[in-house]
Amino acid sequence: MRMFLKLAWRNILRNKRRTLIAGTAIGLGLASLIFMDALMIGFKNDMIHSVTGQFLGEGQIHAAGFRENMEPDLTVRGLDGVVSSLKKDAEVDRFTLRVLSQGMLTSSSGVNAVLVVGVQPETEAYLSQVDDVIARGDFFKGTTGREIVIGSKLAELLEVDIGDRLVLTVAQAAGGELSQEMFRVSGIYSFNLKELDGGMAFVRLAKAQSLLGIDGQVHQIALTFKNKLTGQTEADPFWGRYFRDGNEALGWIKLQPQMKSLLDIVQFAIVFLGLILFILVSMGIVNTLFMSIYERIFEFGVMRAVGTRPFGVWKLIVFEAGCLAVLSIGIGLALGFVTTFIAAQLGFNYHGVEFAKTTINIIYPVLELRQFLIYPLFVMIFTILAGIYPAFHGARLVPAKALRRTM
């Protein structure tokens, strides 16, 4: 046994060029599987991020019934308890508090209906991209409390620029009395998308609370998770923890159900492509192995001629396949790791289409330990399996015929 193993290694190492070519071919196949896997994770994250990153968040907590008609009285129940619980929650990455209300924004030129969003600028920056796409002014660097940040389309409709006056009117909680405040435009953002740039107005949380008469209360907690899949996993324990006592906790998949369908369709295509790659790599292994063995019929013929048993030749070929596999895996892992690592740092950036200049356009492949375990294992097993058929061929050689040197 040991002898055949040593023989196998020696054979492999003897013809360096052939081994290197075969090993690199298979190794590249392995590297591509790892890379593709990492890329697919990156795509998925990117898709989720495109839904959740602009403003929605990966999950939201509201008072039950708030989403239906945005009554200002329906604030998150037991806020302090929920917040302290979220701070300690291991699944939660970031969260921010928001006040939401319908309102009217008046400028010297016109009036527009808006969604008023009271935010905490420091934590809001992690949850939404509004601060990343500020075109003029800033995202609440000022401290007067009268800052208001609006979208470029809204600024255009109201004909205002940085520093101009706006009056915001809302209906208060507990009675619906109308209250008004004067603000000055301190920031104008632009996603380059009408829906986002035309309908929202951001003010400081405290200001929104006093405007609506709901001191200390909020309407929405938006969250991101450490595991990006939590937002779409309805069975995750997180949801049960907060969906109670008068509150609702919903993942983005429930907040925007039509997105799930689209994501599924796109995901299907990605998986399909991954499968094609997988098949190709497998075929490549078979091809490489077959080639390297069939080219050496003479060699095996000699072995048989000097007395090696058919089974011995069989074993030798299979072991050679195994050794080649080990070598290829080494090459493949190294290559795979380096390329994927570099790509994971740099990311893929898509130019040429006018996206807003935010991080949503960069795809980052994601390295995972699993990739470095299952794919090499597959290559190992498959390479050896691929060697079995030619091994039989080699075992059944008739030495006289094999030794004939043909062109």
Binding site: M47, S50, V51, Q54, M70, Q102, G103, M104, T106, S107, S108, S109, G110, V111, N112, A113, R146, E159, D164, R165, L166, V167, L168, T169, V170, A171, Q172, G175, G176, E177, L178, Q180, E181, M182, L193, K194, E195, L196, G198, G199, Q256, Q258, M259, L262
Partner: protein, 274 residues
């Protein structure tokens, strides 16, 4: 990826018929800024004169109760309409308005009690309750916004007023320049008011934004005496930034501080046939 309805909701220039005639006085106090105490630049005599003018304007439409018949004419680039209305008010919290003309809207009525509002629509014989968030838009497609109607900015405390002498001053008119106090929720930076020297009644008001551009003008005309009050019976609001748009309110008849029946401000009254 965002698959929101790509169509934005058309702006709610809804029929805030809803909004009808919040206290008439509210409407008009927006029209007549008053003085803060003691504008430092003016002399004591000027000060007194300013106070007097302001008091006149302020008291112009204010009363504990009122009943009025009026015409509202709205002109937009696309259409023009004239409504005849009858309105009752009590204090700042109770208002009842009914449309008399034209025929299509005859019998439509609105009741407002503090922060709650109901509409009656004879066409469908239904009363609908209007949520507070709906009360913020423009008033019947007119150029008055809720701002104008809700404000009870009591200019005594809210504006700094001084006598002004503009370059194109006309004889027989006095001019006041009114600046809102810092933080007052208004979008204009300054209001110029022209009043008649003889009786302190306003002739026009001009609203300027912070850049000094004229935003809108309110004209007051046709001074008449209703009971014990002598007031302009016509108010005309012209926005300067919109072509071909104008709203005119003409009071045909007003009675102030009269006794109103108990059931005026009730739901029953809403659906009472005309």
């Amino acid at each position: 990826m965002r698959i929101t309805p790509h169509r934005p909701l058309p702006p709610m220039r809804i029929l805030t018929l809803v909004l009808l005639l919040l206290p008439l006085s509210g409407l008009l106090s927006a029209a007549g800024p008053q003085a803060a105490q003691g504008s430092p630049a003016s002399s004591a005599q000027q000060d007194q004169q300013v106070q007097k003018i302001i008091r006149t304007i302020d008291e112009m439409y204010r009363s504990r109760t009122s009943r009025a018949r009026m015409e509202m004419n709205v002109v937009t680039p696309q259409w023009e309409r004239t409504l005849t209305l009858e309105a009752w008010t009590q204090g700042m919290d109770k208002t009842f308005v009914r449309i008399l003309q034209p025929k299509k809207e005859r019998g439509v009525a609105t009741l407002r009690l503090k922060n709650e509002m109901w509409n009656y629509l004879p066409n469908t014989n239904k009363v609908i309750k209007i949520p507070p968030s709906m009360m913020m838009g423009s008033w019947m497609g007119s150029d008055f916004t809720n701002d104008d109607l809700v404000k009870e900015y009591n200019l005594k405390d809210d504006y700094a007023v001084t006598i002004a002498v503009p370059p194109d001053a006309e004889a027989g008119l006095l001019y006041l320049e009114c600046r809102p106090r810092p933080g007052l929720p208004v979008v204009w930076d300054r209001v110029l008011v022209a009043v008649r020297a003889e009786d302190d009644l306003p002739v026009w008001q001009k609203f300027f934004d912070e850049k000094g551009k004229l935003m809108r003008t309110m004209h007051f005309r046709d001074i008449r005496t209703f009971g014990s009050k002598k007031i302009p019976s016509v108010m005309e609001l012209i926005p300067q930034n919109k072509e071909g748009q104008k709203t005119t309110v003409r009071f045909l008849d007003i009675a102030f501080d009269i006794k109103l029946a108990d059931d005026v401000f009730t739901m029953r009254n809403l659906s009472r046939p005309l």
